[in-house]
Amino acid sequence: MKLDSIKILISRSQFGYLSYASFFICILSGIALAFTFDPMNSYNSISLMILLNKPALFIRSIHYWSAQIFLLTSVFHIIDHLLKRTEKDVKSSSWVGMIMLIPFLLYAMFSGFLLKGDNEATQGMNIIVSVLNSIPLIGNIISGTMFGTTSSLQIIYINHIITSALVVWLLTIEHSKKIIPSAKSLLQVIPLIALLSVILIPSISKNISPETKGPWYLTGIQEIFHWLNYPEITIYILFLILVGIFSVKYLNNKASGRLKLVLLIFLLSYSLVSVFALFFRGESWKLIVPWDDNANVVEFLTASNLKTPEDSLLKRKVPLIQGKIESCMYCHSDVKGLSISHDVAAIGCYSCHLGNPLSLDKITAHRGMTLTPGNLDVAEKTCGTINCHPGILKRVGKSLMTSMSGVIAVNKYTFGESKTPDGYYNIENIGFTPAETHLRGLCAGCHLSNNKLKPAPIDELSRGGGCSACHLNYQPESIADLENLKAGKKSHFVNHPEITLKVTDDHCFGCHSRSGRIATNYEGWHETHLNSKDVTNIDKSKFRLLQDGRVFEKKNDDVHHKAGMMCIDCHNSYEIMGDGTKYSHKENAVKIQCIDCHTDNPSTITKDKMDQESQRILNIRNKTDLNIKYIVSKGTGIPYLNTIYKDGRIITELKSSGKQLISKPVSTLCGKDIQGHNRMDCATCHTAWAPQCIGCHTQYYPEMTGWDNLTNKETIGSWLEKDKEFYSDFPTLGVTFDPKSKNSKVTTFIPGMVLSISKSKNEKSYKRLFAPAFSHTISAKSVPCKTCHNNPVALGYGRGELKYVINNNNGRWIFSQKFSNFSSDNLPEDAWIGFLQNSKNNNSTRTNTRPFNIEEQKKILTIGSCLTCHKENDKKMIAVLRSTPFTKKKLSVKCIVPIW
């Protein structure tokens, strides 16, 4: 007896009863659901069910599962009938009704999917309207009647709860001859629906994923659409299938059997395609495997979501975030410290920190969240989403602070791995050649795509962190919160670090205190060979111990630093975050020039004529006056947003303090009108000093444990660097050629890569490359003439004594070098060129830069010879130098010019 019952239970003939019972439950749950579901605000309505209204959530789950089982059992029921050939026994009118049931059933299902109101539903709506509209003549009418417009769910809702439900019910009653399903079939199907409704609760998509998937029964069509250039064909195919099913009743047995076989094969094929599309299609239509971490196959909530929330939560009123409910707000709405544009009341938590915004369970809500949303590997989903800063993110991706292109290019050239020191590289793409492992070991931490691993305030050891590297500022309260969280004294972070435009010099210091050391130079600190033990009782006015153990001694700081200017008072967003162009070297990316502010004839722009980014920045700074004339860079047209032109004066308002500074125009005493000086960069006369490192050697130790700064992992094999001397002298001068303007200019250089390399015991090399460098040690007063004309370091000869000797009315320059010649190229260790020699191959970290050639050296030293007798402010000498052309005839008979 029992066996018979089981047989009946699983008998094929039961599908019809089960189908009707499921539909009946679906109708009842739908009626119950209608009391809490708001079709005009469907997304939030379902969000509320998920978060707080657990009875409604369970009813929705029942509604969903009863509908899915109704669909499945209906399909099985149709197959069952076709296999049994019962269609011949059915009346024609009933047969037509049954065929009519199929499109209405599909409509009821799909309209239910659209009523979710989430991203997937919106895209689904666009698709169905587009497909139906493609039907000639009647397409628009069908689409308008069944789905209305894409901007409202009103018509779909009416058709879902009334039209389709009524038609399906009437046709089912007509087919089954029963108004209410049997108690037996209800008892059979209820446990299954209840079980599924508890363990797999349907959710909604969070409207951020670029992956769009239709309901499971339509993923096959979605996949077919991918391959089909003319998707309207699908409508005709579906119509043909209906005609096919309809025809089986009227064909003879043989033809009917064949047609059924075709339909069965089609159904099986469609099922396979659906499974493939459901499990193996990922974001941006890429192929995935369902067990991949990033796979987001079907999202269901678990039974724990049915737990009744605490009463206190039900009473809590939380703000809607961008018009949507966000569960984070139930616990974190008290977070403060953020500026208006990033305030939690405006953008919530989820848009930055991800996680699950539709859960009030702590573990579930926090699953998948990031504590460091500024990191570039997640920024596409956080800071860089299309509603926030997508353009900036793309620029940052190409910027030098992310790519490190110049560092890589020069390093590879130094190691002999590339033919030029130019070209574009990205640190993320480097491999494991000797130059690349050298970068990984010593340099590759200083780039924006280096991930910040945990929340922490910026300090001297900070590296990378993407957007947070510059825009995150910890206030004392947020540091206290962080410490309390670490110590377990607090479970809740209230004082959020500020996300701000106030990028302090400390943000820049970590990376820019290395290599050219512009951060330390600017503040007037020069690196020494002392170590922390040498300065136990450190005199902080003379020495500074950095967190990395390096000791710096005090030198003159930059005149702009003395005035209180920070890095961002000069450097704008298009320099720091890039302008979208892939530059090889830093000087190509820099937009500003000294003469933009130090002039009496500035270029200006008003706010309303500026680019959007500049206007936004001014808005954030509450600068609303449209009549203010902002200074604009003459070279690039990019405005200085803190510098204005008013009453004939250029006034810079410091971004940190609001203090106003007046820029002085270039002095009339500036010697630009002296021959040869017109091509000199301002820095050549106004640089006080530049850090110079002599005699660096780097060696590879294959057995030693090292650290890969790119992957932040230990490695076997390590590069070690040894340096000899640090100097803080006036820099070397050289020539930069601008291929665009065909002009050349004299500018400042420091030893860039003067390096002996031991790749292995037998593989050694040597490179002597000087690099163009703006030291950031500008002084208001220009250096004395002798600093260039009588200085062997400035001329590129290295340190030593440069002496003008006169014998028998013949003058001759003599140079006694301090450092001995290096065997590899027979030049003094600190030299760029030999005394009165041409450089053989420029020895520079750029293809467009070079040391002075012999002719230029002779001209400089000729003036240097004058300075051995005349004071630099000698009017007679200056008058002669200013006269053009400068010839020996104009000189006094007492003057003895050098012979070469």
Partner: protein, 134 residues
């Protein structure tokens, strides 16, 4: 002898009334559709976009070497909203059509290029004026 039977008369009246109601229904759909499609959220936008793609409401603005082109964000395949770019390509999340940054189809299923939206540049006010019918 009756000119027309009562049943036939009723059928005719119902037929005429039904047809008239169907006509009104059809017209109401058309008018509603027209109102919604012409209701663009923003037709004047500030001309200050960065290089590359910018997604604004229902349009995609492409700036390349300072030159601007504007396209509808509706995929020409089945009308899905395109809201993602990958490098210099736009990818439709629904069925994987790819478009170049000048709106041309790189790979299907879409066959037609993205719909170009005509616009005028107002250099005086530094704004872009979109044509409403787009």
């Amino acid at each position: 002898m009756e000119l027309i039977t009562r049943k036939a008369f009723l059928k005719t009246i119902i037929g005429i009334t039904g047809s008239f109601l169907a006509y009104l229904f059809y017209k109401s759909l058309k008018i509603n559709d027209h109102i919604v499609s012409s209701n663009r959220v923003q037709s004047v936008i500030k001309n200050d976009f960065p290089e590359g793609f910018s997604f604004i409401n229902d349009i995609i603005l492409v700036k390349k070497n300072q030159k601007i082109e504007i396209f509808s964000d509706k995929c020409t395949h089945l009308g899905c909203k395109i809201n993602k770019s990958s490098g210099t390509e736009l990818v439709c999340s629904c069925h994987g059509s790819k478009f170049s940054d000048n709106g041309q189809v790189i790979s299907g299923p879409a066959l037609k290029n993205l719909k170009k939206i005509s616009f005028q540049l107002d250099n005086l006010r530094n704004v872009i004026i979109l044509n409403n019918e787009a």
